[in-house]
Symmetry: C2
Amino acid sequence: MDRPQKVVEQILRGEVRAAARLMRDLDDGIPAAREVLKKLYPHSGRAHIIGITGSPGVGKSTLTDRLIQYLRQEGHTVGVVAVDPTSPFSGGAILGDRIRMQRHALDEGVFIRSLATRGHFGGLTASSRAVITVLDAMGKDYILVETVGVGQDEVEIAATAYTTMVVTVPGLGDDIQAIKAGILEVADILVVNKADREGASRTYQDLLQMLELQSIRKSKAWKPRIFLTRAKEDQGIQELLAGVREHQQYLGENQGEALLAARYQRVRQEFLELLKEGVFRELVDQLSGNGRLEEIIQKILAKRTDPYSASEDLIAAILGGRK
Amino acid sequence: MDRPQKVVEQILRGEVRAAARLMRDLDDGIPAAREVLKKLYPHSGRAHIIGITGSPGVGKSTLTDRLIQYLRQEGHTVGVVAVDPTSPFSGGAILGDRIRMQRHALDEGVFIRSLATRGHFGGLTASSRAVITVLDAMGKDYILVETVGVGQDEVEIAATAYTTMVVTVPGLGDDIQAIKAGILEVADILVVNKADREGASRTYQDLLQMLELQSIRKSKAWKPRIFLTRAKEDQGIQELLAGVREHQQYLGENQGEALLAARYQRVRQEFLELLKEGVFRELVDQLSGNGRLEEIIQKILAKRTDPYSASEDLIAAILGGRK
């Protein structure tokens, strides 16, 4: 790896190869890469981050592809983070459907990064945040973060974007309806894709009703909008983007009050996630190194203690808890 | 709440109402409930835990329902933990499709518990483990754990069962194919449900091929089996259960070598999860209490530090890391 300061400068100039190398080095856990990230951080915070989430098969990738196309036509630079729901056991990425976006591969104004989970106590959230920071520091105007909206972490990643888009399609089974209801609350914009399918207006009506119920419960200043699209046929994308702009404008009102609040939440979240992973990793390292971990597991297996008591005792010993 | 010792005795006798009350109290974070859980733990470890995971809409609930039916017919008692993929923001459970299982609601030998995520740094994994411990201590012969196989946590929960079943259906989009590939590695048993649909034999062949590739990479003693079912029409369930038994038998071979290894992994996993959540919760409490957290967030917002350096410094101060 080059000198950290040199890499920082390359990335601030938007150099694609330096950014790709840094992301790979971050994945591999190279300490110097982390130092670069620290130096890049103060240069981030300018991009508008859009989260795109929804069940498998609703056409998120196609929609993302269209959004890239339109944003590029307007002259904006775009970064994309696609979070792949792959095995927490293998760490391997399945890049199959990313191929759809390959037509942007030769466009210097677009940077696409696919992420897989790494290791057991995975850094899916941490990795995606690091990539967003790099893209942001590169000067991308828009960063699209595409995740599958089912798991906790995946919803979380999309939800901490400035504008969160939840995508659905007409006529899914009730399993998926249930999920949709669950992530509805994080949506700033709702998209009914494949809107030529039977039941589109029914889905639209259902969503509208759910939004009304929601707005009774919590009175937010922003009322989520619903858009009908057919991403494959390039229908309704312009209207959707106008909706994104409207939300962006809302965030900027009153000296950017809502935007500052969103930014505060992002920073808080990011710091706490890093703290959680970091404390845990360091602790497990120490406990593995001195044999304490193995000792505790054997004690639990022998039923001389239980995992609840064992963890409480250990935490009290470290942090002086309130036992 | 009754005296902990009394509750423990009620649950060891298998009393349904005491168990339901305890699970609710655990959800509500009542300290006495945690004390009961500690006392129950040494009585757990006898049930055979079966994880059932797969994408939304593949018919996991219907399949679970059938498995309950057959296990009951054979005179076994059954516990069910259904992990609902609901909002990490609301904490509300969507119980809609659990209704399918309601025909077992009056059967004293079946205990069904739906779980939602609670709070931001949620205890989805921790909650489901606690419920499993209670069901196990109640003396249930089989515990079925149904999760949506997309998120990291959800896959993890199913994967730490003794027998893990991954369910798919013929002819899903490539998004879902990708997921299936990802969780294939945790499967002891693969189920192609809705097997009367077009493309069933193709899906079967695809899975077979993927399994063969996998067995080259890692030579495990157990070769995953594939079963075709039509859960709604009650087809293929008996064969599937025979497959579960075969796997159970495999785990018991050589003085239960494989079972002991699985149990070791479960205990290790459970302890580490409790440690991770517990350390983090205690730490955030302390940092919020003394104003340090707010101080750090403001410093990051003012760009006088970054989240990476801030978390590293804090961890080094607490644990004396290797900085």
